[in-house]
Amino acid sequence: ADKVKVGINNVVSDVVFHLGLERGIFAAEGLDVELIAFDSGPKMVAPLGAGQIDVGAGASSAGLYNAAARGINIKVVADKGSTPVHYDYMPLMVRKELVDSGKVKTVADLKGMRVGSVGPGAATNAKMAHLLAKAGLGYKDVNHTYIGYPQQIAAFTTGAIDAAISTEPSVTQAVNNGVAVRFVVDGYPNQQVAVLLYGGDFIAKRRDVAQRFMNAYVKSARIFNDATAGGKFDGKGADEVIKTIMRTTGLKDAELFKTMIPNGIDPDGKVDTQSMAEDLKFFTENGYLERPAKVSDVVDTSFADATLKALGPYKAAQH
């Protein structure tokens, strides 16, 4: 079997890889997949560029474009987490107290407030900018504070932040803890957030293995889509998928999944280049890029296209 090293973040959306492993989908393609956990996407870039790992579960971010500009050959090859309607796993959260007291009724009320975000140059910031713009605010009309997702719950609790674009399962935990509410859901549909990345060597020197990996990946993605039809963890085979998630992430509370919103993942692996282009504009305007860049610099859809040809389009499972 061909060895493939995959960098993951041990988040909920990484379940596609675990499904592929557990259900023998990778093995069936003759792949021996090893999953390696990283504590953040950016830490994966160097090993991916240096060929220490072949595949990465990364994020669409300014870093990708800068990496490309430095000659670090990494390509976005498929969707790994996006927000089609009903799948907004990254909603705008607002501190409950502010909503209850009526201080914040619309996004426009956030003017001058403290907003948490996970880091500079992240797609979530572009989303925030998008939401603010819709409410007539500029990106700089709120105060930005960088703070990781799990810490955001703590920050909501102490009132250190007023709003944030957060992610699951932190969102559901914050809601269940009664410290924040989902304030805007589906405010920026179809944003490309998490992506599947291939290292340059993997693409150039092991094309065949890379293609087989894509085939298996898309198969897994379809299982996930079956289980999360309609934006809820109650589709076909949802219970097994939930078990896998709990086992691999260490989440202990099955109740969470009743209200948790799953991430979208295109059942054909398609990358939403349109939202990426819009986000790139945001990165450029805010000075995150060292050099001007184009979306096509970092995207290679040839593998997903070939897989689609081989497997045929996704047909939603019957319940």
């Binding site: 956990a37 990283f38 830490k43 090993p47 220490q52 992430t249 260490g250 989440l251």
Partner: protein, 256 residues
């Protein structure tokens, strides 16, 4: 006899203080003085601890971390010891290397973790190297200081008896600096534990650090505290062991 029983007495006082603090915490958590969602009462942590022990999960992680810790301590500590002794004895060597040490020491290890991964790969080696980096500096700095502080008369005796460089190392610099070196080893052990935790957050699938990080990600607060508790216990146990080793290595102080 007297010494023994006072030793036991000291150990006893030493256990009392932490227990007292834990008791306070428990009471505060129960009475709602602190936010039990983030600072759960120790009893609930102990409960989770039991569950993790029962499942064998804790043990696996512990063994993985300990292995990395020991290898890293060796890899960082031994060169630090020898380099430190050499720098303590030789002024020119010290002048040449000191600035390099003080410039590289404060470079945040967490920031260069990606570079370490790049150089040493994603496997065990990079984690061991991280621990080694952490252990290296305190042992080196304390060894240099310890040697530099040895009363000059002892070095004079060594030179008068034509001790070779290596003999001066072994018979004067090392034993003379030993108390200071042991303080350095204690600091290094703590640093090692900190760095093992940091480096296991990347490219690891086991270890106490992995466990803590994972628990933060999904906010299973109790598990996280178990991880912190285990590290604290390790720190305590190691310090008791190191104290014992110190007592054995430095008999001329103990018997006074």
């Amino acid at each position: 006899m007297a010494r023994k029983s006072s030793l036991i007495g000291e150990r006893f006082i030493g256990l009392l203080t932490p227990l007292l603090l834990l008791g306070l915490w428990e009471a505060a958590a129960r009475m709602g003085l602190i936010d039990a969602r983030f600072f759960p009462p120790p009893s609930s942590i102990v409960h989770t601890f039991g569950a993790l022990v029962a499942s064998g999960e804790l043990w696996t992680n512990l063994v993985a971390s300990l292995r990395r810790l020991f290898l890293g301590m060796l890899l960082g500590g031994v060169p630090a010891l020898f380099l430190g002794l050499a720098m303590g004895i030789s002024k020119p060597l010290r002048a040449a290397i000191d600035p390099l040490i003080s410039a590289t020491y404060p470079i945040p290890k967490s920031a260069i973790l990606p570079l370490v991964l790049l150089i040493f790969g994603l496997g065990e080696m990079s984690k061991v190297v991280m621990v080694a980096l952490g252990a290296f500096y305190p042992i080196l700095i304390n060894t240099v200081m310890g040697v530099a502080n040895i009363d000059k008369i002892y070095l004079d005796v060594g030179h008068n008896y034509r001790a070779s460089r290596w003999q001066v190392f072994r018979t004067i610099a090392l034993p003379g600096a030993l108390p200071s070196i042991m303080a350095g080893v204690k600091l290094a052990m703590g640093m090692g534990l900190i760095l093992i935790a940091i480096s296991e957050m990347v490219a690891a699938s086991d270890g106490i650090g992995y466990m803590i990080w994972n628990a933060w990600q999904v906010l299973t607060v109790d598990t996280m505290y178990v991880g912190l508790l285990v590290i604290a216990l390790l720190g305590f146990v190691f310090s008791v062991i190191l104290d014992e080793i110190e007592r054995m290595l430095i008999p001329w102080k103990a018997k006074a």
